[in-house]
Assembly symmetry: C2
Homo-oligomer: 227 residues x 2
DNA sequence: AACTGTGAAGAACTTCACAGCA
DNA sequence: TGCTGTGAAGTTCTTCACAGTT
């Protein structure tokens, strides 16, 4: 890594709030767009607009990483891009194991957005003997018995779970035992992991149900106003 | 607005916080599991454990919907299931239009979790002439020119966007103009919608980037402790 | 005795508004 | 003057702890 050896490497900042962490990738993407357009500097308000947040929020978020802007001018695009990229570990290639190659897992295995962000789908695992043995997106699908070996042999610390809910906890336990320390869960069930293991969930039906709740309210409102 | 209808339909509670709304589907699912197991009542602590939250949080969440529990006993499973189901519009069939039938849209079109939660994928639309005209998951894929017609003819108020980022805002505008009032966005770009339209986003690469951030911190920490 | 419902305290996050610097 | 960085205020969400009910 050609990282600077002085302060900037890991200057032990005040801890970055989780809400801020969740926006850093958005800022990174917005900055990349700015760079593509040939901009060399951006103001907080322009960048915030591109990222879909308020300017004050963006400035406070960046302040947790340090002072990267110039008063009266704005932020230097390339520099800020590099700083946020370093925080996110963009330079590094993260090996990811996907467990479950059904409908969804199949799509995730071929999702271009992962590769372009530094994630390499390093192994696919599936419990179904029909699927295991085949290959998806140019990668062999391995049987569930080889889960641990798949994790260890590619050195993955991140796993994606795209399996039915009933199997999710057991597979999670095995992943953690094999050395995985971050899990992205698509199974619609809560998972328990030991301290030190990060867990995020994506629940597709839930997202629609939240929208349906609001649709329902809108309909009730309209009915109340009209009738 | 002033007149309370007092009917069973909309007892006009204090407004339900957004964070609570986002958990109602989780509770609903946990309750469904309880019902399958033949339980007739559950305590807040048992239900909370099944939903992966703390008991106090669950009780406060439910308190926004009304008083459905019995002190000293717990909640009647069937009753609470019905109450939450009503809030979420479970009884209703929501027609959903999916725009973009690539890798991800294809998987979403065939996702069983939608159908089982009251969502009917009513139309598929894609800009690619090769895909349009074909069929996916037993449904014809219509060209982008027919977007408005697809929305109107199936009466969909909910749309799912699984298209590349550059096209997302324009398609959004057209969807809104055609009458869509809720959008689930998978395109990695911020969208602007008018007031009254609900918008949620699912950003798959972002989720992994958040995990990578924490992986990076863990690695830094280990390095600091060891070397 | 057991368990819910909730006011009050606490924590996290957002927004404001302005001091401070280029 | 223009824009960043940030203390302070405001808002939302979570947790606590206990009064109230069966």
């Amino acid at each position: 890594m050609s990282g600077q050896r002085l302060g900037p490497a890991t200057p032990r900042q005040r801890p970055v709030p989780e809400a801020t962490v969740a926006r850093l990738p958005v800022y990174h993407r917005a900055l990349a767009t700015c760079a593509e357009r040939g901009l060399t500097t951006v103001s907080s308000s322009d960048l915030a607009a591109a990222a879909g947040v308020k300017a004050a929020k963006l400035r406070k978020d960046l302040s947790y990483l340090g002072s990267y802007g110039t008063r009266g001018v704005g932020y230097e695009v390339a520099h800020l891009l590099a700083c946020i990229g370093q925080e996110l570990g963009i330079a590094q290639q993260w090996a990811v194991v996907i467990v479950g190659v059904g409908n969804l897992g199949h799509a995730l295995a071929g999702y271009a957005g992962f590769a372009s962000r530094g994630f390499r789908v390093a192994a696919l695992v599936d419990a179904d003997p029909v699927r295991a043995g085949g290959s998806v997106a140019g990668l062999a699908v391995r049987p569930l018995e080889e889960l641990e070996d798949a994790v260890v042999s590619c050195g993955a610390s991140i796993a994606v779970l795209a399996i039915p809910a009933p199997a999710a906890q057991e597979v999670t336990d095995r992943l953690v035992a094999a050395g995985v320390t971050s899990i992205l869960n698509f199974a619609p069930t809560p998972l328990v992991v030991p301290a030190g293991v990060d867990l995020r969930k994506v629940d597709l039906a839930l997202e629609l149900q939240i929208l349906a709740f609001h649709e329902q309210r809108k309909a009730d409102l309209a009915r109340g106003a009209a009738g």
